[in-house]
């Protein structure tokens, strides 16, 4: 039997990926350019008893998915730049209270209202540093419609596995372009369930580290009673200011991601074996980069591409290794140099980092990247 094929927009694919992952609760607020996610899910979720809520604002949408997740739902919200700024307050709540959820953010021009219909990649730092305090961050940056579908599924899996908010951040080009997509069969892509408690209710503690760094999470209304707060908390969920507990809990929350980087970080290596010049790219920009690398190869330049799929945690190890053996790294991005800072941090001066930064709402052309590749001596 042949697989189901469709011609979809990135945002539509994201909605269908969420459904494949078992999403049964969505709350959002209208915002360009992510609205299609809401539109698809408002039609699809109730067909299987799922819930779609359009809330009064972006913060409320984030709050509603956190509440629903605590009640046992698999939850998603979608937004874009200004909405992401508003959601940051409660993304932090999701991190400290350790509530699984997926935040789908389409990157448009900014800051503020910026360019609502223009593409951008300027929210990537916001994914890690947007909410206050130390916290784990996972952010995926898909480059195609198919990959958006699959990365949304992976985001759900990661959020359940590590009990933390996960962001999926396509740029506006990926979110709005249409491509052929091949739907996986049910069961073809693994969908991870939430780790439920194995102890009886009277013994349950929501942050019981005897089960490891990611303690099981019970659902409200399932027979378990427990307390959840945004304050620094103890293993039983109640607030504390005891220095040693706060320190240990904060470190554990960050360690959930830091100790599992190899499980979380995904990337694509394209023609890297003998590459002397490497273009590091993510999202739609990687499509121009791939074209530029191909042309460079035709012209006898040993170029390759390292494509970031998981932006956070950042692929430090891979970039450090690359920096030690190439003549230069080219980084095209639709912001004024965000990923390039991470590359400089990882390269530690071992190789020059050449940036191409565009914030004019236009995509980065292969020609621009090719010219920059040729600047590497």
């Amino acid at each position: 039997m042949s697989k189901k094929v469709a011609f979809l927009q990135g945002n539509e694919a994201a909605a269908h990926g969420a459904l494949y992952a078992g999403c049964d609760f969505f709350a959002g607020y209208p915002i360009t350019p992510s609205t299609e996610v809401s539109e698809v899910l408002s039609a699809e979720l109730p067909k299987t008893g799922g819930k779609f809520l359009q809330m009064e604002d972006e913060i409320a949408a984030m709050a509603a998915i956190l509440g629903a997740s605590l009640a046992g739902s698999k939850v998603l919200t979608s937004t874009s730049g200004p909405g992401l700024s508003l959601k940051q307050e409660l993304i932090g709540y999701g991190c400290i209270a350790e509530i699984p959820c997926v935040v789908y953010n389409v990157m448009r021009g900014g800051p503020s209202t910026g360019m609502p219909t223009g593409p951008s990649q300027s929210d990537v730092m916001c994914a890690k540093w947007g909410t206050h305090g130390d916290h784990p961050a996972i952010c995926l940056t898909p480059a195609s419609v198919q990959e958006t579908y699959e990365e949304v599924i992976r985001a759900f899996n990661l959020s359940e596995k590590y009990r933390t908010p996960v962001m999926v951040m396509p740029d506006e080009i990926v979110a709005h372009m249409r491509e052929r997509i091949v739907f996986p069969e049910p069961g073809e892509i693994e969908v991870l369930p939430r780790k439920s408690p194995t102890v009886p209710p009277e013994q349950y503690k929501p942050y019981d580290t005897s089960f490891g760094d990611v303690p099981p999470l019970a659902a409200f209304g399932s027979g378990y009673k427990f307390h959840v707060t945004g304050l620094n908390k103890m293993q039983d969920g109640f607030p504390t200011t005891k220095a040693e507990i706060v320190q240990a809990e904060e470190e554990r929350q960050v360690r959930k991601v830091d100790a599992n980087i190899d499980d979380i970080v995904q990337f694509e290596e394209y023609m890297l074996d003998d590459a002397e010049v490497v273009v590091v790219a993510y999202g739609s920009t990687s499509r121009s980069a791939r074209y530029a690398v191909n042309v460079a190869r035709e012209q006898g330049i040993k170029a390759g591409m390292f494509r970031i799929k998981t932006f956070w945690p950042f692929p430090d190890k891979q970039i450090k290794a690359l920096a030690g053996k190439v003549k230069g790294i080219v980084i095209p991005e639709m912001n004024l140099g965000m990923c390039s800072l991470e590359l400089e941090r990882c390269a530690q001066g071992k190789t020059p980092i050449l940036g191409i930064f565009r914030v004019d709402g236009e995509p980065i052309n292969p020609d621009q990247i090719l010219d920059k590749i040729k600047e590497v001596k």
């Binding site: 067909k47 809520l53 509440g67 605590l70 009640a71």
Partner: protein, 273 residues
């Protein structure tokens, strides 16, 4: 036999953080009595709050309790209720939390008429942060940030709730302790969004700045200004000057309830497949 509050409280989580003379404990006891009257199952009851002194209440009660971010209780609670409509969802918080930073979530929960009960402890002040004026601080009164008197007019929480579409609105006071559980019982039994405002006192940050010499004086004020709605019907406008109505102020039973309406959406969606 004395009422056994302990069966609803969390051992080891008391004493509470509230100052001597604060009325929040009176409200908590009223809520516990109401839960007992209604035989609410603890594991099927969610108590959700925001931030502030009153919002610490959920930590003391042995239910599914959710202490959220400042002002966001109604939005979190909406998520809980929509995910599990069979749960009893009760919101608690203060006047600053509910009507300032949480004002938008408050009015939209009223508008949706989602079956939850919101208990607002109105002590006219931001107590936890040291006594700044809230949207409920009366004009002219003193707060740590209105040293020359408050220039802002205050909200009438009940009118706000009714105007926004809540279908059950009641008001009590921390002085009239025996009425609190009765109002909460009726509010929880009501199918729709119910609001119970409890006029409360904050001797520490409000009373001392506004010439109340003691907690007793603050409690006496609540006793004096409160007029039951039934009694008010027989009073003249002049007699009602400076008084505050208490009891069930508004009840409407025809407006559709939100989770029931969404169940119909699910039915229509399934039929469209």
């Amino acid at each position: 036999m004395a009422f056994d509050y302990d069966k609803y409280l969390r051992p080891g989580k008391l004493p509470h953080i509230w100052c001597p003379g604060c009325g929040h404990g009176i409200v908590m006891k009223g809520l516990i009595r109401a839960m007992d009257t209604l035989k609410l199952k603890k594991e099927e009851t969610a108590i959700v709050s925001g931030i502030g002194c009153a919002s610490r209440l959920p930590g003391y009660i042995d239910c599914c309790t959710l202490h959220t971010a400042h002002g966001r209780a109604a939005a979190f609670a909406t998520g809980v209720k929509m995910a599990k409509p069979e749960m009893n969802v009760i919101l608690v918080g203060g006047d600053g939390d509910g009507t300032a930073i949480g004002g938008n979530h408050f009015i939209h929960a009223c508008r949706r008429n989602i079956d939850m009960t919101y208990i607002i402890m109105n002590n006219y002040i931001y107590g936890m942060t040291g006594g700044q004026f809230s949207p409920c601080t009366p004009t002219g009164h003193k707060a740590s940030t209105t040293p020359y008197g408050n220039p802002d007019p205050g909200f009438d929480i009940a009118k706000l709730a009714i105007g926004a579409g809540a279908t059950f609105v009641a008001r009590g006071t921390a002085f009239h302790a025996n009425q609190i559980d009765k109002l909460i019982v009726e509010a929880i039994q009501h199918k729709g969004f119910s609001v119970v405002e409890i006029l409360d006192d904050c001797p520490t940050t409000y009373g001392r700045r506004n010439k109340y010499k003691s907690v007793i004086e603050m409690m006496n004020r609540l006793k004096e200004v409160a007029v039951p709605v039934k009694a008010a019907e027989k009073m003249t406008a002049e007699q009602l000057q400076g008084k505050i109505l208490t009891g069930v102020l508004y009840k409407e039973e025809t407006k559709p309830e939100y989770t029931a309406e969404y169940a119909k959406v699910i039915e229509r969606a399934k039929a469209s497949k």
